[in-house]
């Protein structure tokens, strides 16, 4: 059994947007794009967060614990366990699309940084409105059209993609978005080129408690969070 001892890191830099923050630690966390850590927020809960780069997490305030995290300051100390989970698979093609919805950008940003100098990486970030754009990607979609493409990330992807080319798609975001992407890729017979990262409610993070199990019976924390399109089905996005 691998061991995931709790250890502590302190915050080196915080880049804050309205209700989202990019938090940089003083040291790297050895991991791969797609993996997540359990962040122990002393006095609050321990929550799963994707690595958004070797040194950063990117967090959205949705409740008590994330509120504390987003409002962190330089020098604050957090407990960390992990990284856990299966990383995104190695893209054995020359071109990949990253399709992020909202805070789903976190794990994809790491993937972006990891491969952008090696292959062609087209990162698409879809958000409600331009205030939520926290990274500088060229391809952005806003629902209100406040900047970039008006619509969602999947629609923008459909506009950009040339399906005669060989590419892979990596996606993370709200379930309805993933579902629509899944259906499209299925129809195109390209499920094997799709990889999604799921976010179910987690407790143990090591595949035992069962709280993150998908409708197909897989464990998001251990068999995922990244899944091949061929290993999931529609019901997993509901």
């Amino acid at each position: 059994m691998e061991v995931y001892n709790l250890y502590c890191l302190s915050v080196k830099k915080v880049k804050k947007f309205n209700n989202i923050a990019i938090i940089e630690f003083d040291r790297e966390i050895r991991g791969y794009p797609g993996q997540f850590i359990m962040l122990n927020v002393f006095g609050f809960e321990e929550i799963p967060l994707s690595l958004s780069s070797p040194k950063t997490i990117t967090v959205k305030n949705v409740g008590k614990t994330t509120n504390r995290v987003v409002n962190t300051k330089e020098g604050d100390v957090f407990g960390i366990r992990g990284p856990f989970g299966r990383p995104f698979s190695y893209p054995d093609v020359e071109k990949i699309y990253l399709i992020a919805g909202g805070i789903g950008i976190a794990p994809l940003n790491y993937l972006y940084e990891y491969f952008k100098d090696e292959i062609e990486v087209i990162a698409i970030h879809g958000v409600k409105t331009k205030e939520e754009l926290i990274y500088d990607y060229p391809e952005v979609a806003t629902e209100d059209g406040s900047v970039g493409f008006r619509g969602n990330a999947v629609e923008l992807f459909l506009k950009l993609a040339d399906f005669k080319e060989e590419f892979r798609v990596y996606s993370c975001g709200p379930k309805p978005m993933l579902l629509s992407l899944y259906k499209i890729m299925k129809k195109l017979g390209k499920l094997e080129s799709l990889e999604v990262s799921l976010e179910n409610y987690m407790r143990c993070g090591i595949g035992l408690c069962g709280s993150c199990v998908t409708e197909s019976g897989a464990r998001v924390c251990r068999d995922g969070p990244t899944f091949k399109g061929t290993d999931v089905s529609e019901k997993d996005f509901i």
Partner: protein
């Protein structure tokens, strides 16, 4: 070669899923039931319980410490989740309750259960589990209450956190239990030296996994010496050799929990190896139960 029968339950193979591991959703139970001899659900109580805050599970080199705190959606919701489950293996529903009456009330929610397992042994939930399981009288009356409420087999799951587990086993037998399950986790703790605090939100948890194998095996051994009812072994089993150790010590079949860390298909591998070995020796599981005690 692998099949066993306990209290009328027929198991294709002697390796079942333990309670609380991947047992709160239909989908994972279905996956695991493909290979397991039987599956036990997560323990359920009448009311919804949130359980403890994260961190509630820590893994260490030799074991897992958990204080999930009997998180449960409550009997009604859980029975909805499970009722349309279609598996070909016995489905054992694990129950927890603070007293005999409540234990008995739970039975009716699960008409589709093949058997019931009473969690008299959770070491971290206050007033539930272990606080009952260390008290002979309470064990006897809880078992009796459930036996009176159902015709299905009733198993009592014991805690190893006692001075003498055989006394508790005998109390369960007296209450009419069809079998005992030995054992649940041992009380344990972990401290983070950097924050200088206990790691688990609940401070104390229960340790499972490899660390407790020889301790659980000793419980099975001791119980086999005094009980007439069958024993179901549980604790730290992670390979086919462990399974055989438990069976030779007196278990009629075994349950596996923490070893699912390795893979959702942990049981598949174990059962295959077990089958190969027994085939090579031309032996049957049911003839090996308790053989290490020697003599007749």
């Amino acid at each position: 070669m692998l099949s066993v029968e306990v209290a009328g339950l027929k198991l294709e193979n002697p390796v079942a899923l333990a309670s609380g591991i991947l047992g709160s959703k239909k989908s994972s139970l279905v996956e695991i039931a493909k290979f397991a001899g039987a599956v036990v659900t997560k323990s359920v109580g009448i009311e919804k319980r949130e359980g403890y805050k994260n961190p509630c599970v820590i893994n260490q080199k030799c074991g897992v410490i958990n204080a999930v705190g009997l998180a449960s959606p409550g009997a009604k919701v859980f029975s909805e989740e499970l009722k349309e489950i279609s598996i070909k293996k016995p489905l054992i529903v694990s129950l927890f309750a603070p007293n005999p009456e409540n234990f008995a009330l739970l039975v009716d929610y699960f008409p589709f259960a093949s058997a019931f397992e009473l969690n008299l042994s959770c070491p971290h939930a206050k007033k539930l589990g272990m606080s009952i399981g260390v008290d002979e009288k309470a064990v006897e009356s809880c078992v009796k209450a459930v036996k009176d409420a159902t015709d299905k087999p009733v198993f009592a799951k014991l805690t190893p956190n006692v001075t003498d587990i055989t006394k508790i086993g005998l109390a369960a037998e007296k209450g009419g239990a069809d079998a005992v399950v030995a054992v649940n986790t041992l009380k344990a703790i972990s401290i983070d030296i950097y924050s200088k605090k206990a790691v688990l939100s609940n401070i104390v948890g229960g340790i499972s996994g490899k660390a407790i194998k020889s301790i659980a095996l000793r419980c099975v051994w001791d119980l086999y010496e005094v009980l007439d009812i069958p024993i179901i072994g549980c604790g730290g089993i992670s390979n086919w050799i462990d399974v055989l150790e438990f069976i030779m010590a007196g278990a009629s079949f075994v349950q596996i929990g923490s070893a699912f860390y390795n893979s959702l298909r942990t049981i598949e591998g174990i059962v295959k190896s077990l089958e190969d070995y027994l085939y090579s020796k031309n032996e049957r599981v049911k003839d090996l139960i308790g053989v290490a005690h020697g003599g007749v």
